[in-house]
Symmetry: C2
Subunit: 353 residues, 2 copies
């Protein structure tokens, strides 16, 4: 039952995203490509993160690495949410052990001019990498991705990673016109960036609004949702499944679906059967095993993974994933074993006689 | 209607905690004493945080500072959640701009011996400060506090502040016996620390399990709730209201009440009327204006504060507060204005003829 599909049409991942019957619950892992794999650390060597994200050969190699280890049902492009921001000329870098940092934060009207529109030609290396990957992956889907508008804005406004996103929120609350202009430009960049990936063959996309959960439901509705919605609407004609994810978004799940996602990603805080109640009908769910559980012995992992599979059955479609990215200290053999478990424990009984 | 109560019995804060009728919605602010006040920075001078927390004169002065500025309905003891851990001899300090750091983290069975029981004599300065404060405050209640078991454990296991609490969670998941032994010792220390404050005259206590929201509901139930419950149970005979708070605890609110809290604190993510639905009857609520909103213009603050007051009316008792601590850059004049607004906008109509 774990044979690879013969064509993308049969992909359990794409079927689940579309809420169609699947032979077993498909699975992939956020950050499956990257920091937890020794071959990733070898491939990167001393290469700076954003350098690696701009070289088609490196992107391709790192994206494929987990596909050689695990029978996961989708690949995810190796990239970073700040790639399109760097591509429009922002002085942004990824500091090891810190995260994205920007030379001059964006906090005023006059700073907006630095956020010019993205042209597909600015990210030719993405087109090249996705094209190569799609050829290599064959019937296995490639997921493209981009950062969500609140999360991108937070890095730009704060100047780097932030605990409470206080400056960002105070800009949103106190200067709504500037806030909306900023998010509008970010949405435009994101739309182009995702369309580039889809045009080159990505079978699905995920919008990571990782930190949107820092906002109250009411403020999310007025300050963030319209921009996410514009992004999803602008991709509707492509027909690819659109996944939307952030952490600590328990109160926002319904609106993340409303924004136009086909699949709502759920972190480990909300059990999937409860998430089903918070999301309107007509959506699939993705998630949601706590990534920290993978640092525990297998005996602790197995029942929790099965619990996620069981609760996932209450959704119209379920893509198994972690509730956030794979932690750097995760043992890849544990991810391999988990992948098999998800496939084996979720086999659907054939329809009756 | 904003006259100070003549005795503690009339304290709107204590009445609201006990779900009794109040003349107006009482209000205090987490971190009202401390970093946002210029007179606090003067009182601290260059004094290290834990030094300041061990000097009765400094504790008293800093606790009283916001009471001179704002007509808030309760004072909260100036202290830190790691004070009792330092008092039992742990090599713990608070690094400016970082937070609590511990020389040698606690990760193994043999480390537990370093967590000896707390004796009231270890924190004589707390007894002295609380006694002085209660005399000074008269009819205005003093809230004592302590850190919750998950949060204290996280600092001890991680060795300092942590983004994901991954080591802590992997200890909880993978080594439940060690985890429970650790939390049991922390609970014992916390019980003594809180009883010392109550014995000296604190009128209420708050257990800050700030980071417990990092845990899934199921893991909270098995790994954290029993220890919080033991703490609250051990205080039941004192008769003082027990408040329980953490951030991103939307899925845990019901269990935080079940643990034995009289008042469940809510961060800004869950509207109070929704929190009412998640908490069993017989509990008051506290919260929940986003502290970041106070950095915005007053026109943005006022409607949101009124919204909190309105939703708070659906609770059996409501203590107005922020959804987390006052941010360092908050203008004290805004807090003064907010305090007046809460009092004025919440005046209860006298009962009918």
């Amino acid at each position: 039952m774990n044979a690879q599909p013969k064509s993308l049409d049969e992909s359990p991942f794409l079927l689940a995203c579309r809420r169609q019957p699947v032979p077993y619950t498909p699975v992939w892992y956020m950050r499956q490509a990257g920091r937890s794999l020794p071959e990733y650390r070898r491939a990167r060597g001393g290469m700076p993160m954003l350098k690696a994200c701009s070289r088609p050969d490196v992107i391709t190699e790192i994206t494929l690495q987990p596909m050689r280890r695990y029978p996961v049902d989708a690949a995810i492009l190796f990239s970073d949410i700040v790639v399109p921001l760097r591509a429009v000329g922002l002085d942004i870098d990824i500091k090891p052990g810190v995260g994205p940092v920007i030379g001059e934060p964006i906090r005023e009207e006059r700073d907006l001019a630095r956020l010019r529109p993205l042209e597909p030609g600015d990210v030719g290396y993405i087109t090249e990498a996705v094209t190569a990957l799609v050829a290599e992956l064959g019937p296995r889907p490639l997921i493209g991705f981009a950062g969500g508008p609140f999360t991108l804005a937070s890095y730009l406004v704060e100047g780097g990673p932030s605990k409470g996103h206080d400056l960002t929120k105070s800009l949103m609350y106190g200067h709504p016109a500037l806030w909306n202009a900023l998010l509008s430009r970010l949405a435009d960049i994101t739309i182009t960036f995702l369309r580039v990936q889809i045009a080159a063959g990505a079978s699905a996309i995920q919008l990571f609004d990782s930190w949107a959960g820092a906002v109250s439901p009411e403020d999310y509705r007025t300050g963030v949702l319209p921009h996410s919605k514009r992004i999803f609407d602008a991709l509707a004609d492509t027909g690819v499944p659109r996944i939307h994810f952030g952490v600590a978004t328990g109160e926002l799940l319904g609106m993340m679906g409303e924004a136009g996602a086909d699949v709502v990603g759920v972190d480990w805080r909300v059990p999937l059967d409860e998430a089903v109640r918070r999301v309107e009908p007509g959506k699939a769910l993705q998630g949601n095993l706590d990534p920290a559980i993978l640092l525990a012995p297998w005996d602790e992992i197995e029942p929790r993974a099965k619990d996620v599979i069981g609760r996932g059955r209450t959704a119209e479609g379920h893509v198994f994933n972690l509730g956030h990215g794979v932690l750097p200290t995760t043992d890849p053999d544990v991810l391999a074993r988990l992948t098999d478990l998800v496939h084996e424990a979720s086999v659907r009984e054939p329809a009756g006689p």
